[in-house]
Symmetry: C2
Subunit: 456 residues, 2 copies
């Protein structure tokens, strides 16, 4: 089997047909598809279609589709469901996904759902909803296989057999009498050991774990770095509260990358999925406003520096190339910083090493293009009614601007990281605008100082 | 346990100490650390230190450190090792990682290593090195638990016990007599079923699999989309050749994201890790050369359009704001395309829907800032020795440029994807340069057409 792409038209046809055929026939037809594929198709349906498709599914498929589809569709569907229907879906979901649904509901409706589901689940859910969505507590599932650390291997295997909810388990967690995490052992190891051996002998003691409030990005980096099959989550007493599985980590990585990339480009991550034009507009406007203000600033600067000597109009010709190169060098440095912080590749403790490296790189790049552009300018200075000295002014300004760009592009995201602002917010339009302004001041300032020697 | 950060100074100290103490003492000290953390520290050591640290480790730790450290360090270490030493390390590694090492060696040295390792492993390795590094064949490991589809559950569990190499196994693969993949079953299910039940009854038939030459990005998206614990790889006859595990997928995702983000910013992904300044310079120069050529073009365009009327110098004041906004809008659209293609969120079949949405968004953004900037310009036109009509010219040009930017920012990456070029290559400096040039032509062309009405 390879991936099954369901054509939208086919689902649309089935939905239209169901006005004629019985509900049950439609349901059986739709159930032949993988719910994850249906979740994909659902994104492209009209609101009415989303709800009808959803209602045509069985309870298990409903849970999967609701979890896998996009936020827009989820909202539409949830708004159309009454409390008992939502409760049924939530009961089919792993507790972590159920908690996410609860957090999307209006406060009151969420409480009603909690009142409707089984007592045990309600308690788990209301505990899970207390943790921040972007923390280990918010990511973890409470379905895992636990065994007493004093138990035998045979008893542990029996536990694995009995645990109904936990899927794709490869790890069993050994807890002491107070529920504290003492070790972990994978099922393969359990199978290899004699049934009467103690779990405490077979297990790896003191496994890596994270606290409930660990940031989801740190969780993803830990799992990635140490190639962990799953990561246990413990409270301050080291009592095991849940486990983070790799598929949750993959989702978090996707989310964090979407956020970083689109913020650097100057928009929000939800812009990626099919949202109405109105929302796309609203997402992007604030970032572009930074660019706009920067643009107005360049006008004011040029105006205040304006060269009354007719022949020196040529000076302004070089503004785009200086701004363009400085902006690009700044984007290179700042993107490296944002990505490095996100993956843990760059730590704040390494900035003092990185800054001089980036600055030198920027300076070398600036020298290269400064000399190139300076020579070209000097050669054609005559045609521009200027002296060859214009080449020196342009070249030196270009070099200065790109050096500055690499310093600012490295330092500003590092500063943001230090004070707890997402560095990606600073890395895009904001830094480019800052650089445009700074580069313009350097260039026009320098040109003004040497103005009398530039006139031919 | 939480993450263990090893201070660089501590390792440096140990290495220096070993000149006094016996090798064995150093080895035991270093072995108290997690090799993955040592691999991290190793990146920051001098070449000599990298090699000495490596040589102080036991065989298993050597294999892990070599796999987990960065490409630069790996190269340094491999260059210092003789064929028997490399063979020992390769024998400790899972075959997929061993194959990666072989591919990093010079052809001849690689052949010598193959001659040195066990016959079985040599065959596996030379098969693995035939697959492209960025394909499913290049990602997969050949260590997996297979069982005859006609076997019983009890026999399958025995197979799990006996398989030495495969770690963190949760899945067993059922193959027919010709080695073709027929189904998959997880160990937990095996434990739950009666030992004399047939595997063919317990298994999920016809599981999702990929071909040997499937692109690694597609592999990652499949695993991510369907939340798969592992993904089997089959040849054209559907014979199972290997399995891709989640930790390999995480590495691929990291690699692909690094590549996309840094290409948009205009550099190569290896720029992220600590490389010498010389390499950083070489990585970035080609991208910046695009920006440079674009900058020269803006000079030529401004020169050929130059306004002889002294009062109209003001026209050039507006070039940075128009270029800035057009560039930023283009970056927004193109980043969305690159990310959407990478995650599979956007398919080529949806371009015809997306293009008008992006274009309309760009037009609305352009109208907003066009009106804003136009009004401001018109009000201050007097101070700029121009008529209020300049506001109309600036506003309309701004609106046209941003609309064009969103169309080009959407269409160019889509075109690249269609013809098989990495869209990320087009999305950064190339599109911005294209937009700068196009926007300038629109603006200056329009201003020239209305020139006589702009003079006050």
């Amino acid at each position: 089997m390879t991936e099954r792409k369901i054509p939208l038209s086919q689902v649309q046809f089935l939905l239209d047909e169901s006005r004629i055929y019985a509900e049950e026939v439609l349901r059986r037809q739709l159930e032949s598809y993988n719910p994850i594929d249906l979740a994909e198709v659902l994104k492209d349906l009209e609101d009415e279609g989303k709800v009808r498709l959803f209602l045509s599914l069985g309870p298990e498929a409903r849970a999967l589709v609701l979890d896998e589809t996009d936020a827009e569709s989820r909202e539409t569907i949830l708004a159309s469901l009454d409390v008992p229907a939502i409760s049924d879906v939530v009961e089919e979901m792993p507790p972590d996904e159920g908690a996410d649904i609860l957090q999307q509901l209006p406060e009151e409706k969420g409480q009603e759902v909690l009142g409707e589901v089984e007592q045990d689940l309600a308690e788990e859910l209301s505990e899970l909803t207390r943790y921040g969505k972007d923390t280990a507590g918010g990511m973890m599932t409470t379905d895992f296989v636990e065994v007493d650390v004093a138990a035998t291997v045979g008893e542990a295997l029996q536990k694995v057999r009995e645990e109904e909810e936990a899927e794709h388990v490869s790890e069993v967690y050994a807890l002491d009498a107070r529920g504290r995490l003492r070790g972990t052992v994978d099922i393969k190891t359990l199978l290899e050991r004699p049934p009467d051996e103690r779990v405490s002998v077979a297990m790896t003691s003191d496994p890596l774990s994270v606290a409930l409030d660990t940031d989801q990005e740190d969780v993803a980096n830990l799992v990635n770095k140490y190639n962990l099959p799953a990561l246990p989550v413990v409270d301050v007493e080291h009592v095991m509260k849940g486990v983070i599985t790799l598929d949750d980590v993959l989702d978090v990585i996707d989310e964090e990358v979407d956020e970083d990339m689109l913020r650097i480009a100057g928009t929000l991550s939800r812009d990626l999925v099919s949202v109405p034009i109105r929302k796309k507009y609203v997402n992007r406007l604030p970032f572009l406003f930074t660019t706009f203000v920067g643009g107005i600033l360049t006008i004011v600067i040029q105006y205040s520096f304006r060269f009354t000597t007719d022949q020196l109009v040529a000076i302004t010709f070089f503004i785009p190339i200086i701004n363009g190169l400085a902006g690009n060098v700044g984007l290179q440095s700042s993107t490296i910083m944002v990505r490095g912080f996100a993956t843990g590749e760059i730590g704040l403790d390494r900035i003092h090493k990185l800054l001089p490296i980036e600055a030198t790189t920027g300076a070398l790049i600036g020298l290269t293009f400064g000399v190139l552009c300076g020579v070209v300018t000097a050669v054609f200075a005559g045609a521009l009614n200027s002296t060859a000295l214009l080449g020196v002014v342009v070249g030196v300004s270009l070099a200065a601007a790109t050096t500055m760009a690499s310093v600012i592009g490295t330092a500003v995201p590092a500063f943001c990281e230090r004070v707890g602002i997402d560095p990606a917010v600073s890395a895009g339009p904001f830094i480019v605008t800052l650089l445009d302004t700074a580069a313009l001041l350097v260039y026009l300032g320098f040109a003004t100082a040497l103005l009398q020697f530039l006139v031919r």
